[in-house]
């Protein structure tokens, strides 16, 4: 399954960059020749949707709004849950539209949108100070989040193998 791991956020705005950090760690952990692309982005709405086109599965990693979750905790959300719960930190671009609307539009236009979108939403503390460091609780959580995402990639690969048999 053609997969994209997308870390969202601003790497120079403290915890806001946590998604980017996780994506970088995923990239460093991937064995060679795995058909998984990894990239970092700081855009929402239409541009985010456009980056997903052509992939069958996208794993988005983003911070949630401070106060909505304990710093360093994270949740795995399906796309359906995301559509109900509302966007994380970087999914909506108020200069155009939300990711949900953008994807709906792409679907109507028969563009190749992913079949599966999974979101890792990470609780953060400080997204208002310029700096390249994560706050301690978020930094400590990084290995656990990385492990979960890597596991996700492996589990999904196994799923794909059984898919052909059913």
């Amino acid at each position: 399954m053609k997969t994209l791991v997308l870390g969202l956020g601003n790497p120079i705005l403290s915890d806001d960059g946590v998604g980017v950090r996780v994506a970088e760690a995923v990239r460093a952990s991937l064995p060679p020749d795995v058909p998984i692309d990894v990239c970092e982005l700081s855009v929402g709405g239409l541009r985010l949707m456009e980056h997903m086109l052509g992939y069958e599965r996208v794993i988005l990693i983003d911070a949630v709004q401070p106060g909505d979750a304990e710093p360093g905790t994270f949740r795995r959300l399906s796309y359906a849950e995301l559509a109900c719960l509302g966007p994380t930190q970087h999914m909506t671009c108020t200069h155009d539209t939300s990711l949900v609307t953008a994807l709906e539009m792409a679907q109507r236009m028969a563009l190749p949108v992913p079949r599966e979108i999974i979101v890792y939403a990470i609780g953060v503390q400080d997204v208002e100070s310029f700096g390249e460091d994560l706050t301690p609780a978020v930094a400590r959580a990084l290995p656990r989040i990385l492990e979960a995402v890597l596991q996700e990639l492996n589990i999904s690969t196994q799923k794909e193998e059984t898919h052909g048999l059913t």
């Binding site: 956020g9 982005l41 155009d96 310029f130």
Partner: protein, 493 residues
């Protein structure tokens, strides 16, 4: 006193909050547009090599990183006292034109357009690009996405990176354009011109063809007589990449024209206790409060102000569209130039004229025989000290100012971003719209609050950027407070 707040759905930095206070009579006593500020941008930059700035500052905005990249690159030219090679300037401007096409397209179809195409009173859930596509057809939606994707392809190829370009260097650009790329870009530029003409036609058919919308655009609710700022070329025509900053008064008379490096001689900043963000104003006039007119130092820097500040457009079809807008909106020619248009909602029309100009300018540059010249860098020989770089960002004049030691290590930075210029005008527009629309006993509906939002949406404010942050999101919350302090209406999006 009653209070109305328009506040964000999230607690994101860079969000906007509109608070409207009603008096005992149920009328608008005051309205504020409040933006919080981030911490430590200057501290983050100081001590770093200045040549990192094109890559740092393009991180402070997820919407127009290309504008910051360009202003920063030009500031480095000035800092290192180096004149870019002719082809470097052309590549930069070609790249920048592609960016404008993508950005203005997005604003019209996804943000400004829904109010007109779907209607200002349509349910909020339909007032988006999906609603536009539903109304005018999937084909237009496809054209919008195609326009974005092909221009982002140009930006990525020429800028060296998709979202945050990296190719700008003091004295030039890090890569040349091959003949093969040039041919592809020429094709894209031609498609852009067709698309821009098509978009103007959509505007004519849907907006100008509907008297109700024309009345809305020309209504007093959305009208302010202020000074206008924009960058012009040697013939006083609009230019996005380079030129002199020109300011005209509300009657269209040139008030001042200055080199961007002299901005501090002409622009000062006013502070208010209710917001961290400062309000730039014309030093030569002075701060007289949030008021219109020749005696008020308030100025605007938007697509409409760029057209108002210029004598015309530098490309033929954009010039035709320019003349049509001024003629249609009843502007007379005085001393050979049109009087300014003061209708803020006409900014949407001006944006489409700029879209056409950007497309035509891109085509001019990409068919320039010199554009594939490999000589994209001038050598640097001088010692750095201080430099100012300025471009027209889609949302207004953008100025970067850096100071360094002799090694090129930053000691101080100052930015005036596009939206900051417009902070006072936006606050005035919001207040005026609120005062016009909310009277004693007015029922506060979603449509009414949207019409207040329309007052600032024309500016496409980017406060993420104005407060030096990234998100491109600017969630908004509107709250209306009654005279007794209770909340009587609340809108989030």
């Amino acid at each position: 006193m009653k209070q109305i707040t328009i506040d964000p759905i999230t607690r994101l930095e860079g969000h906007g909050k509109i608070e409207i206070f009603l008096n005992d009579a149920g009328e608008v006593a005051n309205a504020y547009f409040v933006i919080p500020e981030l911490r430590g941008f200057e501290r983050f930059c100081v001590g770093r090599p200045a040549e990192e700035m094109p890559r740092i500052t393009n991180r402070i905005c997820g919407v127009c990183p290309e504008a910051h990249h360009m202003a920063a690159t030009k500031a480095l030219d000035a800092l290192y006292h180096v004149e870019p090679t002719p082809v470097a300037k052309k590549i930069r401007e070609m790249f920048y034109s592609a960016f404008y096409v993508a950005d203005h397209t997005t604003h019209f179809y996804a943000l400004g357009g829904p109010d007109f195409v779907v209607g200002p009173d349509a349910p909020a859930a339909e007032r988006n690009i999906l609603g536009v596509v539903h109304k005018v057809g999937l084909e237009i939606g496809k054209q919008v996405i195609d326009a974005r994707i092909r221009n982002h392809h140009v930006i990525q190829t020429v800028g060296g990176r998709g979202v945050h370009p990296v190719a700008g260097l003091p004295g030039g650009w890090s890569k040349a354009i091959t003949e093969e790329e040039r041919k592809e870009f020429e094709q894209i530029a031609r498609q852009n011109v067709e698309f821009a003409l098509f978009s103007l036609k959509v505007f004519e058919d849907i907006v100008l063809g509907n008297q109700e919308y024309v009345d809305l655009i020309t209504s007093d609710t959305y009208t302010h007589r202020t000074y206008y700022m924009g960058t012009v070329d040697a013939s006083n025509r609009v230019n996005f990449y380079d030129g002199m900053v020109r300011v005209v008064d509300p009657n269209g008379k040139e008030f001042v024209k200055y080199h961007p490096k002299d901005y501090l001689q002409h622009i000062a900043e006013h502070t208010e206790p209710w917001t961290y963000l400062k309000f730039p104003f014309l030093k030569g006039i002075g701060w007289k409060g949030f008021v219109d007119g020749e005696d008020s130092g308030v100025y605007v820097a938007t697509p409409l102000s760029r057209l108002n500040a210029a004598d015309g457009m530098a490309t033929p079809r954009a010039q035709e569209a320019f003349e049509k807008m001024y003629e249609t909106l009843g502007s007379k020619k005085v001393n050979g130039r049109y009087e300014p248009v003061h209708f803020r909602l006409a900014t949407h029309w001006a944006r489409l004229i700029e879209l056409l100009y950007a497309a035509e300018r891109m085509l001019e540059l990409v068919t320039d025989p010199e554009i594939t010249d490999p000589n994209t860098r001038a050598p640097i020989t001088a010692t750095p000290d201080e430099g100012v770089g300025c471009v027209e960002a889609p949302r207004g004049t953008l100025t970067h100012h850096y100071w360094t030691d002799e090694r090129g290590i930053l000691t101080k930075v100052n930015l005036i971003v596009g939206t900051t210029n417009n902070y006072a005008p936006i606050a005035m527009s919001v207040k005026k719209a609120a005062q016009s629309l909310i009277r004693r006993g007015t029922k506060i509906t979603d449509g009414l609050l949207n019409r207040i939002e329309m007052a600032f949406r024309a500016y496409d404010p980017c406060f993420g950027c104005a407060t030096h942050t990234l998100p491109g999101q600017m969630p908004l919350e509107v709250t209306i407070y009654a005279a007794d302090g209770s909340t009587i209406a609340h809108l989030r999006r």
